[in-house]
């Protein structure tokens, strides 16, 4: 059995004339945390949406846990969990009801669902508010419910789009620890973020996308080697995505 849990093959997406994602090829292995970086509008979220089956690619393919997302969507989706950038949830359900609903959608054993829900509520410090409607939750609490929903069925692949936005430092730390634990247990974690420090510290490998094309993939050392002596991820990122000139302008303004 292959240990590649996420694989994109010439993945492309066009919206009319605009090319959002242009023949992206990447692989994420079991036990790996993969950081996906790029400037605003580079194609990160579009790529992620194609990986989790929210968008149909214009061409190319995505394989999740060995299953093609287009031709075997059920098997691919059953293996993956997704945390979107905005925690849009059913606000008229309580966290407990929502997690139960997700557990049933993924056909998790009822006893297991109950156990997982209690564990996750406790883990994310949501037990006290578990029976309140999500309507009354703060952004951070919704983000935590969203993450808990992605973990109810214990996925082998976890895809997260900006997971730490709106979280307090304690919750952000919890998520980082959790992702590391998941990877150690053999899951593949695909994570998009704008916080380069998170990517640098947490990710085993990093992919940088710019204007729809994957411009660099590798470990931090490999990226440093590509970056002609630049040492920090920020410098590498700016040199690859064309933002270095802004840093120079900022210096002049100072």
């Amino acid at each position: 059995m292959t240990d590649i849990l996420i694989e994109t093959l010439d993945l492309a997406k066009r919206f009319g004339d605009k090319v959002a994602v242009d023949k992206v090829n990447l692989q994420v292995r079991a036990g790996e945390i993969f950081g996906f970086l790029g400037p605003n509008g580079a194609g990160k979220t579009t790529t992620i949406k194609m990986i989790v089956g929210l968008l149909q690619p214009t061409s190319g393919a995505v394989r999740v846990a060995g299953h093609d997302v287009q031709t075997e969507p059920l098997a691919a989706k059953a293996a993956s969990g997704f945390v979107p950038d905005a925690p849009n949830l059913y606000t008229k359900l309580s966290a407990r009801e929502l997690l139960h609903f997700v557990g049933e959608l993924y056909d998790v054993e009822p006893v297991m669902v109950e156990r997982r829900i209690e564990e996750l509520l406790r883990l994310f410090d949501l037990t006290a508010a578990a029976d309140d409607l999500i309507d009354s939750y703060s952004h951070g609490m919704r983000q935590k419910v969203s993450l808990a929903a992605a973990l109810v069925h214990d996925p082998r692949v976890l895809v997260l789009d900006e997971p730490t936005v709106g979280l307090d430092p304690k919750s952000a730390r919890l998520i980082k620890d959790l992702l590391r634990q998941l990877a150690q247990r053999g899951a593949a974690v695909f994570l998009s973020t704008h916080i380069l420090e998170i990517a640098e510290r947490m990710c085993d490998r990093i992919g940088i996308i710019n204007r729809g094309a994957l411009v660099a993939v590798g470990t931090m050392d490999e990226l440093r080697a590509m970056g002609q002596g630049t040492s920090s991820l920020e410098d590498i990122f700016l040199s690859l995505t064309g933002g270095a000139e802004y840093a120079a302008i900022a210096q002049v303004l100072q």
């Binding site: 919206f15 929210l54 969507p73 905005a86 059913y90 359900l93 959608l105 309140d132």
Partner: protein
């Protein structure tokens, strides 16, 4: 800008700036709108002016007639006509007070620009005044459509002084501002007790029920008769609005005084009212801005639920609270049905949409019962066979009501089954659920409640109509089958026109698909009623037995219903996979 400099910025110029900004936004939206929309806006504006002119002419003519000496010999309307400005002003004030509540709630608490405006270097008062004006302007414009023509008509028919007309406008503006100010304080108070979003939901439900009851009350008043005594009593009641202690009467009497050239009476009445209205506006404006700015209104007062003490050993499980569903359904399907039921039940805005069929059903059932199953023979010239068929059709009125209710319910439960997922649809789309199961869940979530309510109404209408057991027994499968077909039609259009980007449930289905879907749902129900009931009416008219007619109807209608229940959803399965992908 420094704080001192900011404080120097005048309220008036800031208010003008904010209002001008709104005008520019409106103009920009219009400039970038499609040609069709631009033409539509012009047509609406022209219609508004035409309506205003027509209402003015009509009022003028009517009031001239009511003032005629010929009519005065029959009935004396002097008191009512003198009270007319007071009645109109009272009505306008109360209308603005009630209708402003919802728009101010939206404008102050649910619109997302308040934080931006409050943080800007603009006086808070300017923000509030501009918000109040923006909020009440649409309702005030509509109000003017009704009140101005009547008051101007009164002036024209009575030959009032020319100053009467600008003073009418000034009074309406001042009283509207006072009403809006009071409404703003009321909003602050209510929002302190109940969260704004919840208030908006409740308001939508109450508003929908009230407007429906008002619209349907015509069906009852149509059958009412007023005798001369009751009419006189009504006139006396109306003229009582002109009581001297009422500030509205001061204004009304002042206007009449101005019109008839009684300067002292006019100055006193109008002056008092204007001062009072402006004082109310100033006090309420100050109060509301202080209450808002200090955060008083946002502090929830004793309505927060305290954390409930739960026994550690027995954590609440969702499964224990959920209604049991047949185990033959896949778990994902039952989960979707339960989720839909919970979400629909808890969002009062959805309930407001579902209340319509219930109220309409009750109204029509009562009307059917009042007619006692008899067909109005008119002048008695209709042929016998026609009267017989009409009578037979009337006998199936209970089924008609049940189908009508089913149609309206499904235009919400079926047509918006996918749209009502909103932005949370990603949870379903990323889950391993097949389109067939998703469609099945949505169909059952729409079918079961519609069937239950349809059958209940059938039974209720049958009892009220004193229909025979045969008609009711025939009606039960008819309703079950026809509703199933309607679910298929509505659900399919709902898939085609699914819109997940909405804030207000009333905007779930939009565009031509929603419009065509509504017509298609209605056309299907009419066709199904014809297929089911047609043979049951025609066969006995042609000499056959009622049972044979009903059996033929069940077969014909049943085939149509089953085809519509299965075929359109099957054809839409491919599109279910693409919901939420845009383009």
């Amino acid at each position: 800008m420094s704080r001192a400099a900011a404080s120097r910025v005048s309220v008036a110029s800031s208010t003008c700036k904010l209002l001008w900004l709104r005008v520019r936004i409106w103009a920009s939206v219009l400039r970038h709108a499609t040609l069709r929309r631009k033409i539509g806006t012009l047509v609406v504006a022209a219609l508004f002016v035409a309506l205003l002119a027509a209402a003015f002419t009509g009022s003028w003519a009517l009031l001239s007639f009511l003032r005629s000496p010929e009519l005065a010999q029959v009935v004396d309307l002097t008191l009512v006509l003198e009270a007319l400005p007071t009645i109109i002003l009272t009505g306008s004030f109360l209308t603005i007070l009630v209708t402003s509540f919802g728009v101010l709630l939206q404008s102050l608490y649910l619109a997302r620009d308040m934080d931006f405006l409050m943080a800007a270097p603009i006086p808070v008062r300017a923000v509030f005044i501009s918000k109040l004006i923006q909020a009440i302007l649409p309702n005030f414009t509509l109000l003017c459509l009704f009140s101005l023509p009547v008051l101007f008509g009164l002036g024209a028919s009575s030959g009032y002084h020319v100053l009467f007309y600008p003073l009418v406008i000034l009074l309406l503006v001042c009283m509207t501002l006072a009403a809006a100010g009071l409404s703003a304080v009321l909003v602050m108070g209510v929002v302190r007790l109940v969260p704004a979003r919840r208030v908006a939901e409740a308001l939508a439900a109450v508003g929908a029920a009230a407007s429906l009851i008002c619209s349907q009350s015509g069906n009852f008043t149509r059958n009412m008769t007023f005798d001369a005594g009751q009419t006189t009593q009504l006139m006396r009641l109306l003229s009582r609005a002109n009581a001297p202690w009422s500030p509205f009467a001061w204004a009304g009497r002042g206007l009449i005084g101005l019109g008839t050239g009684q300067g002292a009476s006019a100055a006193l009445g109008l002056g008092l009212t204007l001062v009072l209205a402006l004082a109310i506006f100033a006090v309420t404006l100050r109060a509301s801005e202080v209450l808002y700015h200090t955060g008083w209104s946002q502090m929830q007062a004793g309505t927060q639920r305290r954390p409930r003490a739960r026994p550690q050993a027995a954590p609440r499980t969702t499964a224990a609270r959920r209604p049991a569903l047949p185990p033959l359904l896949p778990r994902a399907v039952s989960a979707l049905i339960v989720k839909d039921a919970l979400v629909l039940r808890r969002d009062l805005r959805n309930l407001s949409q579902l209340m319509t069929p219930l109220i309409l059903g009750i109204v029509y059932a009562i009307m059917l019962a009042r007619s006692a199953g008899q067909v109005d023979p008119g002048r008695g010239e209709a042929p016998q066979w026609f009267m017989h068929s009409a009578s037979q059709m009337r006998a199936y009125g209970n089924i008609g009501i049940a189908l009508f209710i089913g149609w309206i319910m499904l235009s919400r439960l079926g047509m918006m089954a996918f749209s009502h997922e909103g932005r949370a649809y990603w949870l379903i789309k990323t889950a391993p659920v097949t389109p067939v199961r998703l469609m099945l869940a949505k169909a059952l979530a729409a079918y079961v409640p519609t069937l239950v309510i349809g059958e209940v109404f059938l039974a209720m209408a049958s009892l009220l109509q004193r229909a025979g057991a045969g008609v009711m027994l025939f009606g039960m499968p008819v309703v079950a089958l026809a509703v199933a077909g309607a679910v298929g039609v509505n659900l399919s259009f709902g898939v085609a026109g699914a819109n997940l980007e909405w804030e207000d449930p009333r905007h779930m289905v939009r565009g031509s698909v929603g419009c065509i879907g509504s017509f298609a749902g209605m056309a299907y129900m009419a066709l199904a009623a014809a297929f089911f009931i047609g043979p049951a009416v025609l066969v006995p008219s042609l000499g056959g037995s009622v049972g044979l007619g009903q059996a033929i109807g069940l077969v014909m209608g049943g085939v149509l219903a089953l085809v519509c229940a299965l075929l359109p959803p099957y054809l839409m399965l491919g599109r279910v996979r693409r919901i939420g992908e845009g383009g």
